[in-house]
């Protein structure tokens, strides 16, 4: 009897079963545990307004994290994202001094993000330079421009309707930023998991040579991913600037690593090729809940970063330790 492919099933394990045993399921469990722990630790935690405040801890970073997730899956990285925020915010601040209105400010914010992303993308895809080197370079470059323009000064005086992007509420406790975060999450979920583009991103991350040999336009897709990451940094810059109401050159310092942490915690392989948007969404909540919970307990910032670091290593190491232990 010959086995023909007529007898090959589409799948052996159902998608549901796969999901239950996934990284995302584990992460969700962690999120629930942290939520429960927070509720016990502080009487102020379970309060709608406090929880709403908590979301500001991650919404802006998460917007960048989604684009960064795609970039890391494709095997590249962008460490200049926080510096793009600084440059973008500085450009908006300068425009305010010239008396520009909110619509122009938004366009400038997005435009600077787009340009910075294209610059990174061109250097990586046209010149064939490694993205980690390019973006460490542009990280200094973009923020450096911001420092030259501002020195130890700050831009203030943003129009009041502009501040709505960072401080406005759409309905009751639901902030504009949170809604934007959800919308962007949905867009990236569809883009990565439901489109040709997303499939190509996975293929490139798993084997760039194989993807090229399969007729995928590898460099073009990578270029688009850099632009998207720049654009998301521009959006984050608008929200953050509107929320703070001022621009200093030190704005969003160190965010690039927090964004990468969020992506990796979300189960995106730092080597590229695997991970999901759902994982990044849950990771965003986990990081937000931890920082907010510790904030309520008056834990100093430096301890918070220790806790986040420990969480990252812990969540990544535990499954491996578990499988080693089970193999014995």
């Amino acid at each position: 009897m010959t086995i023909s492919s007529r007898t090959i099933p589409d799948r052996l394990r159902s998608p549901l079963e796969q999901r239950l045993k996934s990284w995302e399921a584990l992460l969700l469990l962690v999120a629930i545990c942290i939520f429960a722990a927070n509720s016990f630790a502080s009487p102020y935690f379970l309060n709608a307004w406090n929880l709403s405040d908590a979301t500001f801890n991650f919404t802006e970073k998460a917007m960048i994290a989604f684009a960064m997730a795609l970039l890391i899956i494709s095997g590249e990285i962008d460490l200049s994202v926080a510096s793009i925020i600084a440059l973008s915010s500085t450009a908006m601040g300068a425009a305010v001094q010239m008396g520009m209105g909110t619509p122009i400010l938004v366009l400038i914010g997005l435009g600077v993000g787009l340009l910075c992303g294209s610059f990174n993308g061109l250097l990586v895809t046209r010149m064939g330079l490694p993205s980690i080197v390019v973006t460490i370079g542009t990280m200094s470059l973009f923020r450096g421009i911001s420092f030259i323009v501002l020195g130890d000064q700050a831009y203030r005086g943003y129009p009041s309707d502009f501040s709505w992007f960072g401080q406005g509420y759409v309905w009751w406790v639901i902030s504009f930023e949170f809604v934007l975060f959800m919308v962007i999450a949905a867009i990236y979920f569809v883009l990565l998991h439901k489109t040709n583009f997303g499939r190509a991103v996975y293929a490139i991350g798993n084997n760039p040579t194989g993807a090229l040999f399969s007729g995928i336009r590898v460099q073009r897709i990578k270029f688009i991913l850099f632009i998207l990451t720049g654009l998301m940094s521009g959006i984050a810059a608008i929200c953050l600037t509107a929320r703070l109401g001022s621009t200093r050159p030190s704005i969003a310092t160190g965010w690039e690593l927090e964004v990468v942490t969020m992506v990796v915690l979300g189960g995106i392989s730092i080597l590229g090729g695997s991970g999901t948007i759902v994982g990044v969404i849950i990771a965003a909540f986990v990081m937000g809940l931890v920082t907010f919970g510790l904030g309520l307990l008056n834990v100093p910032g430096i301890v918070m970063s220790i806790v986040i670091g420990a969480l990252l290593i812990g969540v990544i190491a535990l499954p491996r330790l578990w499988s080693v232990w089970r193999a014995r």
Binding site: T2, I3, S4, S5, R6, I8, P9, D10, R11, L12, R13, V190, K194, T195, N196, F197, R199, A200, Y202, A203, N206, N207, T209, G210, A211, L212, F213, S214, G215, I216, R217, G273, S274
Partner: protein, 511 residues
């Protein structure tokens, strides 16, 4: 399948009087769900070459892994010089003088030849530092003994494939090996290099080393082996002196049925010209390549490794850039600047290097197959899963793919089935011209025949096929015409009137 298998089983007679240096006795190895080896006994005699024959998955690699200490047998014993021994770690095997040259031995491009040869067991001088002088001297001696003219202080990356292979062999011999295992050593070598390898095997034999030679190529086996052992489904089906059997006997034992090694007969009805290439040139890789290709034709490209065949094919496919010359498809001039351009123009390429270029091993079968056809299985850029599975099923069915499910990662399939996935992937794009680069390299006999039959079928349906192959029987058996390349140039074009193995080899070697 149910024909009398007993016919094929020859008596397990004493192979030789000379005592075995290494022997397996009734070795069994079980993996979860499968018995990889069942009561396998094998003797390796100094100064003799034993050929290990069997289809992919028959248990050859498991035997090699047991002999080199990577796996432990679940039952049975290993004897070294007649003494029962265990190889708990690979180092124990190498201390007993067992060494293996794998299909793709891991070497390090940035290290020198001598460092590669002695990596892990370099001679030490004062303070435990590596004694470069002695290491280079010893490397020189070993390289000399295998007839390789390579400077031990050269960096490995500056060597050609054939010389790298010699370094791998030198590395194997640097541990005072008494048993040398060669796992498909000729897979990436050209005709001339294979001849040199044969000489090397002869010289190892005369030095009294026992050699275990694994190969899919029968002409090789009959050329250099003294004894044979045939594996099927983890069992030894037959063994004995090679002079007592014919290749038909071996094939019968391997597959348990008669498989004609004859290539499929087909009606050649050539259609209109589909591809015209005119004075195609690359600054360093190839020069002035011109030919035409018709619908339904199989055009063979023969030459030694490094003749520029793959480079030229990859230029046609848009990988190798900076080329000059013109390409016309169906009389229309086309510009191919990327593989995506090539696919759009109906040219597809099945590369030699399946693992890196042909397939994406960590993605499931269905995603590999649909990767170049994403436009066909989606609407407005959104994937349609049902369409995707249907496309994968449609094209793998014709190739008789064997897999647990379409969700299986391609990396978990055998070489033959991986090749089927790559071919199915390209057929799904409905190409006009398909380029096959060494289509049956590392593919077992059963799948090989399937690939050949399928090629013939495709040609009959009007597809134009370019086949790059270094296997002379394949080139002769499959091609309508053959272009021979040497050092980047077309040397000659042979058709059925003057297509002889001797002519091919003569032109390729430039004799």
């Amino acid at each position: 399948m149910m024909q009398k298998q007993a016919d094929a089983i020859l008596p397990l007679k004493e192979i030789s009087k000379s005592p075995a240096v290494l022997e397996l006795k009734a070795v069994t190895k079980v993996f979860p769900g499968v018995k990889a080896l069942s009561e396998v006994s094998l003797k390796l005699i100094p100064g003799e070459v034993t050929a290990l024959v069997g289809e992919n998955g028959a248990g050859k690699s498991t035997v090699v892994k047991i002999l080199t200490g990577i796996y432990q047998p679940d039952d049975g014993i290993i004897l070294v010089d007649g003494q029962p021994t265990i190889f708990p770690v690979p180092q124990a095997a190498s201390q007993s003088g067992v060494t293996a040259i794998h299909q793709e031995t891991v070497l390090f491009d940035e290290l020198s030849v001598a460092e590669n040869i002695f990596l892990g067991h370099a001679p030490r001088g004062r303070f435990g530092l590596i004694d470069l002088k002695i290491m280079n001297k010893k490397s020189c001696d070993i390289l000399h003994s295998i007839g390789a003219r390579i400077d031990p202080e050269q960096k490995l990356k500056d060597l050609g494939i054939a010389n790298k292979h010699l370094v791998a062999i030198a590395r194997a011999l640097s541990t005072d090996a008494r048993v040398v295992i060669m796992d498909e050593p000729t897979a990436s070598l050209s005709h001339k290099e294979i001849e040199e390898l044969y000489e090397l095997v002869e010289s190892l034999k005369s030095q009294g080393k026992a050699i275990l030679f694994i190969s899919h190529k029968f002409d090789e086996i009959f050329r250099i082996a003294d004894n044979y052992t045939v594996f099927r489904d983890g069992q030894i089906i037959g063994d004995g002196a090679i002079s007592d059997v014919t290749d038909a006997d071996l094939v019968k034992m391997m597959v348990g049925r008669d498989v004609s090694q004859i290539f499929p007969k087909r009606k050649t009805s050539l259609g209109k010209v589909i591809l015209q290439v005119k004075s195609y040139t690359h600054p360093t890789e190839f020069e002035d390549i011109s030919f035409t290709l018709r619908k339904g034709e199989i055009l063979g490209f023969y030459g030694l490794v490094g003749a520029g065949r793959s480079e030229f094919m990859q230029a046609l496919f848009g990988i190798t850039l900076n080329t000059f010359g013109t390409i016309k498809i169906e009389d229309k001039p086309v510009q191919i600047k990327s593989p995506a351009d090539a696919v759009e123009n109906g040219i597809v390429y099945v590369p030699e290097d399946r693992g890196r270029q042909g397939a994406i091993l960590d993605l499931p079968i269905f995603q590999n197959i649909t990767l170049p056809s994403l436009g066909k299985i989606s609407g407005n850029g959104f994937l349609k899963l049902a369409k995707e599975f249907k496309l994968a099923r449609d094209y793998t069915e014709r190739l008789e793919l064997r897999a647990a499910s379409f969700d299986t990662h391609v990396g978990n399939l055998s070489g033959g089935n991986q090749q089927k996935v790559v071919i199915a992937k390209w057929l799904a794009t409905q190409p006009k011209i398909i380029i096959l680069d060494e289509p049956t390299k590392g593919v077992d006999i059963g799948s090989k025949a399937a690939v050949h039959e399928f090629m013939a079928e495709l040609a009959e349906q009007g597809l134009a096929i370019i086949m790059v192959s270094s296997e002379i029987p394949e080139v002769l058996g499959m091609s309508d015409r053959v272009i021979v390349m040497r050092e980047g140039r077309m040397v000659t074009e042979l058709n059925e009137n003057n297509l002889q193995p001797e002519t091919l080899v003569r032109h390729a070697a430039g004799i």
